[in-house]
Chain length 438, copies 4
């Protein structure tokens, strides 16, 4: 059988001290953390697009990576080779999930009808591979960003025929996702946004964006899809203003249009930071609104104003992220999708392996440290103590909403100045560092 | 009678060509635009804090401006002198509204009870001045930012006694606002946000922030206040994350907590830009959600990451802002509040006059140009034509929600590739410039 | 003869009131401003790459614009058609200069030797067109950004063979520039920067970048090139850190490596803003260091963190830019190159025309207003008066460097507190607006 | 004897596992790293201003911290108590250096003559404490930011009398620094920058800024000062544009004005990030230009656009910083000055202790990891190998500058396409993490 990663063995856990680059230092799939094996907490997924399709081209230059899979030219053969390569990769890395766009798995220069047929064929081919492995589909999604017909948005296009195209693609990708047993369907709004309000009917575009989601929900549910629909926030790029700006914007959107029972958030690190938020902030907001669905696990560069989709390498970020995910009770249908790409000059196939080892170890150590943080308890206890005034006396009445402004004024007259205590940020940072680096 | 602006005459309209710095070039109060005099469209308001209290101190140095009002030292006399100076200023500039915080009008080093008494006395004094003029209160607000007791938030403090202080202040400021006939009460959340999630119960803080607003609403309505409550978004500063991040965040908040019937937005230019949005964007979002209440009219510096509160000087910004306000039907209870301060080195009293002339002319010309934009019609017509596909055929069915994914797929199979037309951004910018500069 | 812009007439000046989109409102080529016709002040140049090659593709999707020039497929015929189209365009718009990269004018999939031959052939073809018109070459440049071999930099590559490629391309482009009579040769450092210091020898890379420039200078001078070499600053994108960060960085570079006699700056609006500077700031710094060479005339979007290359539409920006250029005595070898592209959804050929009309009118009005600003004199006089203390007394001694710290201390002891005067920013902004909008 | 930190013992090293917040986890002063004790590598300094003077006030509110030193009111007694407290603090923390502004150590409401006298008195008092301890002065500096007379800049003021004030202050602070045996004198340009070019003579202001530095150099050298002069870059805040924008800007400045023999850089983390650079970048640029003098050790928040002066807590930042410092051969006259402040709501004296323990441990672990990185050698070796092409063949000729463009072109013709190797960023990040977390 053809191998696409001939230099790559099955990657094994060798512990923090190993100098073997092709080994995990922290990811030990079956190690039990907080009652579950690491792999069940993390649910890593391969992103078909970046790792199997991405060729290193950017806005300033063309492909640096050979993605002909051994010099193939027949389009469908390339797609099947990608499936083979992807499954080889996932098995060697121990990744049990994958995510895909419709256009990641089929040739993109066909008619709609041909594409639908190709999609059926490749889905069958993937199902065959899935049957032989433990690998599952985390979620599917439609891409209505790349094709020029979507240059002015998809469901938010000024042109109803373009809306229809987006809708038809969503239908077929939902079908494919169901066929693959996927428990999630993600909306990423690509070019759904505006470049200038001088040519934009903002209200109609937002209404129409919701209309496609309602159609998708109704169709999916009718076809027996019981998973979650996700919306993935992003604030800008390629458009000046993307409609799914951040987690809160999406929460308002799904509530305004009555989608909140079926839709959750797929939160991406780099999109969070582009919106001016920490990743932890966005996870927290999703969590306290019961809308934390899944995660696009990458890293942004805070010095740069565009989406870099770096592989995660920052342990602070992943520790605080896994803290939120553990506090939310872990993933149900969601997981950690590696929406990350190797740098354009990391053009060897091996670099994709290094990238995933880096990302998996970074999240694995984050999980370990997050659980230590919870077990250590100092920070959680500090917060509980800090707000304990709201469990008694005037504080409890405030929370129970059994107090009036007049009564609160009388309280102030009675007590005079409040006695304050320090917020202790430096102490808490010291505790955090002592846990991460012990 | 003492004058505080001895060099300043009543400022009159002299037209664009005048070289008199103490004259309006564009603001001609009674000139009728779109059926109403300019002053009714614009409803300019003096900000008590910046113009009567601000002393030029910043984080790097102390006061540069003398605010002793002729060398006064008795605190209540200073407050009354501020009233006198403010009314002289408003009359000379032709400004018919003012906005105030509780702490702008009373000495700030007193007990709660004394402060309440002082507030009553000064409110009476202001009412006396109002009776002699045409000047009205646009809105009032409480400041729970400056005093150290609010260092860790007001209604979002970890400490219920601090919540009580915030509540008691709100009560008294609502009383004062009602007494002054104010048609608005604004919540600006000062330090309601967090510096680190390591010490923060985000969920409780947000719930409590809503609790104070409910208390305020119920109290105000019980006391006969029929105006609007406003929330003023700001994304950060002084805290790392302010809870009222942007217009959409506030919309989600007021809907989540059932406040949407009584609360609208007070949108500030510089806060919009700090959140990564244009001012027009924030106005548009408020407008299409029927929540555009009032405006804090200033300007930000997009090269700087903090709130600069510059006087408005950019005609592009004000033209597009006034376009949104005209399209919204104009202000009802709201207006244009000059939440703007002269630079620290513009320390003469005269500079405040120049600042207001600059701001008033900038908004006046913006109004004129916005109305020309609407009358010209090319841009509005372009948008109407662009989206006309949604008024018929498959487009109408999409909007009417009488179509299914299957039907949309069949439509795609039937039509093949959509025929697209250019978005024409450059042409529309050319039209905009031709209107602004003709 | 084939026409590529059949709908486009020769664009004429019709004045500010015209509603004809295919006319100039402000650019009146032969109108004399400050003693010279507008066209001599502005020296507009067509950018071969954006306007003749750009196809609307971006990092998120493919071409939206047909650039087959009537369905041609033979590569050299396409290049010649581009020349024809470019000259038709320039003549219709009244643009008298063009700028080009080597790869803009030849097929890009050839060997080095073939490319060199093609370049000679096309240069000859262009010279033929130049002979029939008044059109001139403003400057040429090599592109070592697009080809994958330059993925890790050109002269800053870790690989000397890549340095050699960059050098060989520079040689041929200098030859072409000389052949076309170009009076400028521009270095834009494309990918000369780093993504991570973990794999970078910063010192060697900077030394090598200078080495290529020295080689180019020596070669060009030996071949009789008497024009200017330019470096075009950009702070980031595509790399995390581009070496030519901003004007001051380049000034340090050219002085450190002894290039200051031959090298000036080509300042781009959008690159200035990405570096955290206003365009006027960068022009001023170049001006006072006698290094203002040429300008890439576009616009950035301050809400976005990447290079948008919008057509200039902001009159404030161009007024203050032309003020600096007038104060510098105008361009000698440089000019205003439209390094600007129509939006991806402005895919008609007509949109390029609208874009250029927009840009040309924006700079023309900027020129008019800048000259009015100078003639008005209030702002210049304000500055002269403000600093007049340095023309006499202790101030003059400071400037003449004939004073000591001890003497300055004695001066302080003698005078006590200085008497300060207001910086009058609001007044000056009012003056600026009154000039721009009168 | 009075103690100001009664709850604080001498802080000792207890290792990474300790739960004692009043202990070091990583800073073990006498532990030898790379041949020198940690304390000699790190040379920590107390910042008089933040830790002894800072009262928690910010632009939005007043003091939260009591800095009356036991309720003192006599100004000179307070200054002496600050000395006592500072020395107690330094001895308890094991900090052997301090940095100071003139206004940090004397009452600020006196005449120039009185201030000079007070300064002499306090300097004597400090010298007394120094004689009893091992504590030394790292550097001194003048503050010409806080007083209103400097509202429009100090040496860059439009007003020569203000220049004289700045000069006189510099003289006295240099005297004090020499008296205290300080080996550095730092220029931080406070308000030396501009808010608007509409009122600014940029060229004169820069010339004058250099003039003061020349005066200071000549005076200092004449008085026997043999230490380094430092300039501390900052790009903006409080002014829109600060003249000492970043390291490269300062390098250009000191070379342009002939200051490079006497002036080095004092690089601050948060100022680096505000300028759009990583701290490591700025250190590297200073290092390869032989201008790395000293460090202001704090942390910025990349989500915020102003100087936060957080205590360092990020091990990635300090590891890469200490890597640069080790590669530069360590500090000579410079050190790590804690230009950091506890958060406004960390108002207890104890919080300052936590802040310093956090900062010291963060730099100590950074030092340990940096040395491990160097000893590990994988990253350094990767870089050496990567650029090895420049040590032979055509590469060596490029570096030796013995090659021509023609010869390089011939080389290209001979070799055809270069053979490239991957930049391996992901692998290198994996190595970095494996060192930091092992």
């Amino acid at each position: 059988m053809t191998t696409y990663f001939p230099n790559i063995p099955v990657i094994k856990y060798e512990g923090p001290k190993t100098k073997n680059p092709l080994a995990f230092r922290f990811y030990d799939a079956d190690r039990v953390i907080a009652g579950r094996p690491m792999k069940d907490h993390l649910k890593f997924a391969l992103s078909w697009w970046h790792s199997l399709c991405g060729d290193g081209s950017d806005a300033f230059g063309g492909a640096t990576m050979d993605r002909s899979y051994g010099g193939l030219s027949d389009p469908l053969k390339i797609e099947k080779a990608k499936v083979d390569a992807g499954f080889e990769f996932m098995e060697k890395l121990g990744i049990e999930y994958f995510c895909f766009h419709d256009i990641d798995v089929v040739p993109t220069d066909k008619t709609f009808a041909e594409t639908r047929e190709n999609l059926l064929e490749i889905v069958d081919y993937i199902k065959g591979k899935m049957a032989q492995t433990n690998i599952k589909c985390l979620w599917g999604t439609s891409n209505y960003t790349r094709h020029p017909r979507f240059m002015q948005g998809a469901s938010t296009s000024y042109n109803p025929d373009v809306f229809a195209w987006a809708a038809a693609k969503v239908k077929n990708t939902i079908d494919a996702t169901i066929a693959l047993g996927g428990q999630g369907y993600t909306f990423w709004s690509g070019r759904d946004g505006y470049d200038t309000l001088l040519n934009t009917n903002l209200e109609l575009e937002l209404d129409n964006m919701a209309r496609l989601m309602k159609l998708a929900r109704d169709y999916g549910r009718a076809k027996g899809f019981t998973g979650d629909f996700y919306i993935e926030p992003k604030p800008k790029e390629p458009t000046k203003h993307q409609y799914d700006f951040d987690v809160t914007t999406v929460l308002y959107f799904i509530h305004k249009y009555g989608l909140e029972k079926d839709f959750k958030l797929n939160v991406e690190v780099n999109h969070a930071t582009m919106a001016g938020h920490t990743f932890q902030h966005e996870l927290r907001v999703a969590r306290i609104n019961n809308a934390l669905g899944s995660v696009d696990a990458n890293d942004g560069d805070l010095f740069l104003g565009w989406d870099t989709d770096l592989f995660a390498s920052n342990i602070y970020t992943t520790t605080l992220a896994m803290y939120e995910i553990l506090k939310a009770g872990g993933f149900t249908n969601g997981g950690l999708n590696f929406d990350a790409k190797v740098r354009r000059s990391s053009f060897d196939f091996d670099d994709i392996v290094y990238g995933h080892i880096l990302g998996m170890d970074t999240y694995a150590l984050g999980l370990i440290k997050a659980q230590e943080l919870i077990e250590d308890g100092r920070i959680d206890q500090f917060i509980e103590d800090r707000y304990s005034g709201y469990t008694k006396g005037i504080g409890k009445k405030i929370v129970d909403e059994t107090v009036s402004l007049e009564e609160l004024e009388a309280h102030v007259m009675a007590i005079g100045e409040p006695v304050l205590s320090s917020g202790r940020q430096e102490y808490l940072e010291l505790v955090l560092n002592s846990i991460i680096f012990s």
